[in-house]
Amino acid sequence: MKFKFKDRDRAEKLVRIINQKVPDRRIKIVHVCGTHEVAITENGLRSLLPDQIDIREGPGCPVCVTPTSDLDAALQLAESGAIVTAFGDMMNVPGTAKSLKELKSEGADVRLVYSVSEAIKTAKNTDKQVVFFSVGFETTTPMTAAVLKDDPPENFSILPSNKLIPPAMESLLELPDNRIDGFIAPGHVSTIIGVEPYEKLAEDYEVPIAIGGFEPLDVLYALALIINQIAEGEPKAENGYRRAVNYEGNEKSKELINEVFDVTDSIWRGIGTIPDSGLTLNKEYERWNARERFEIDPKEGVETPPNCLCPQVITARATPGECDLFREKCTPDSPYGPCMVGEEAMCNIWYRYGGRPKL
């Protein structure tokens, strides 16, 4: 398979570079993509790396950072009789009272979809209102924009909840007591946004950034680039995923996003408001906004339950193992916080792969 990169020989050699160049102190490297955490954990990459390298996931799980108020809005819409369509993970995240899945078992019409196209198809096959819970980062947003530009059916609307990654990365760097030695930038977000958005970050905060792909060798390569940068003392934004990322990114997709959405301040569950980090439908496309079309009661929801370490975990300031509730009281079957629900979230991934980063 020509796009698989997992040979042991190169892996050993890349690990060698990392071992040789890594400084003696603890190095904290943060990535912001659930798929990266899965790639790292599933392939047992931490078991290959020197002990002083600590890799953590930041807010790379879209369902974990979706504010409770958005979830509660989706629940309200379903309760009012609309068909609510959402991606798999969104079904299990609890809003203030319950999750979409629980509401579904009570009889509401909530449907799992794999793509916004399926939501459109659903709308075309019914007279009822169909709402698509539009969650995700820059990789997923162009698709929503594309269908809205493509003459969507009148009974279709979206609940806009899309967010942007670079501002989230910056917010992590702004937190006190959160020294970050390097970032692995998300591969497919970067396919859309390109390299440029990271350059200013790398320069302003003097932090090494390498865009990484998702094959095991891609991740090791990105790590090697970062360790190299640390060793040379020359932080910059590097493209470690050239086959999928151009400098300018995907112009068409960026255009689609700009034509349909406006950038706005956005609440990230567990973090709070991050300026200019979210998207909402612009004036021209407002009528597809479920928030405009329906009456939604904006109640204040419960963001973080007591003793839940999720806010620290998604800002890479704590690992799941440090949480008292992890595995004991907080499990995927009975989760305390969103970090145990989202399949892209650190707590959930660690749990599914044995509860610890390294064997």
Binding site: G44, L45, G88, M91, L112, P216, V302, D333, Y336, E343
Partner: protein, 342 residues
């Protein structure tokens, strides 16, 4: 989020993973007090149970309820599943299946032509595996009281030396009889109406003949059929019950390209979905090679291979050596897999 409410049975309780184990432990095993008629009884939660016939040998008894949805799918249907599933539970206990029962619970309004199709399927599988269906029962419930059709089968077999799923020893080799994930992924594709063009097929097949051949070829210490929960559940159960560890090499685990294709697309591991025509076998390291050869020479076992070994370290855990040379745990799945946000 963790409000206390009256506990209710959830779908995860039936999915073959941890949740189901906990439910059984708490409400079944801890309630029944008279639980065995031989060496392997209810507490062992094996694929079947044994009944001692002093001086004669051992009977193996098993039962299963089949409630698959949809009833008809690429590669089979509920009838084929019912017969093969029970035949296989006996076969992995080391027993030669002798007879089956078939109890039908049918919803009022169910199509008779469809019922006939299911019966024909059961007949075909009964003939293929050479196991008669000798008694049964029929109940019809009011419309809405249940969903379509459920089949319960019980099977009885005879074993000279029954094989449990807990009998492996350190140093034994772990063998798979064929490709993994076929049934679960085929059903997921079909059930979810995933608009992909290539249709996957279930791997339902009766294993009595295949495993009979394997038992003759070498010294088999444990067997299990990796149905709900896949090989992840099966291997962890075997490790748990024996108190030993298992290490598997990822690169040896056979997965069809189309299966791993769909798996990657929906973010569900082929290791965690059901197989209905495969078995996990542990054999002594001296005879493992012969067992694999015997399996491969059988029409149902061309992809059979050794995938790992049994260890003393990492007791009750399953370790995977990944293709790239890393190591990580292979955990039992929690419940029904949910396609990943994508």
């Amino acid at each position: 989020m963790n409000e206390s409410k009256e506990e209710t049975v959830q779908l995860t309780h039936g999915a073959g993973g941890r949740a189901m184990g906990e439910l059984l432990e708490k409400y079944v095993l801890n309630t029944f007090t008279n639980k065995s008629a031989g060496d392997i009884g209810l507490d062992q939660l094996d694929d079947g149970a044994t009944i001692d016939l002093p001086g004669e040998g051992t009977l193996v008894l098993t039962t299963d309820s089949h409630v698959v949805n949809p009833l008809f799918f690429p590669g089979g249907d509920i009838g084929k599943l019912a017969v093969c599933g029970t035949v296989n539970d006996l076969a992995v206990m080391g027993a030669k299946p002798v007879a089956l029962t078939s109890s039908l619970i049918v919803e009022e309004g169910f199509s008779i032509p469809e019922l006939s199709r299911v019966m024909a399927s059961m007949e075909e599988s009964s003939r293929e595996s050479d196991v008669p269906i000798i008694t049964g029962d029929t109940k019809v419930l009011e419309k809405g009281a249940m969903d379509g059709l459920a089949i319960n089968t019980a099977g009885v077999g005879f074993a000279k030396e029954p094989v449990s799923d807990a009998g492996m020893n350190p140093g034994d080799r772990v063998i798979l009889t064929g490709t993994i994930g076929d049934h679960g992924m085929a059903l997921m594709q079909y059930r979810e109406g995933l608009s992909f063009r290539t249709e996957l097929e279930s791997d339902i097949a009766p294993l009595n003949d295949l495993l009979g051949v394997a038992l003759e070829a070498g010294e088999i210490t444990a067997m299990k059929d990796p149905t709900r929960g896949g090989i992840a559940a099966a291997l962890n159960e075997m490790a748990d019950k024996s108190g030993l560890g298992i290490t598997v090499k990822e690169e040896s685990i056979p997965v069809r390209e189309a299966v791993s294709g769909i798996a990657e697309l929906i973010g569900i591991s082929p290791y965690e979905v059901a197989n209905e025509g495969k078995a996990v076998i542990t054999a002594t390291h001296e005879t493992a090679g012969k067992v694999v050869d015997a399996l491969r020479s059988h029409p149902l076992g061309p992809e059979a291979r050794e995938i790992g070994k049994v260890t003393e370290e990492w007791s009750e855990k399953v370790i995977m050596e990944t293709e790239i040379g890393g190591r990580r745990f292979l955990e039992a799945p929690l419940g029904d897999p949910v396609p990943r946000i994508c």
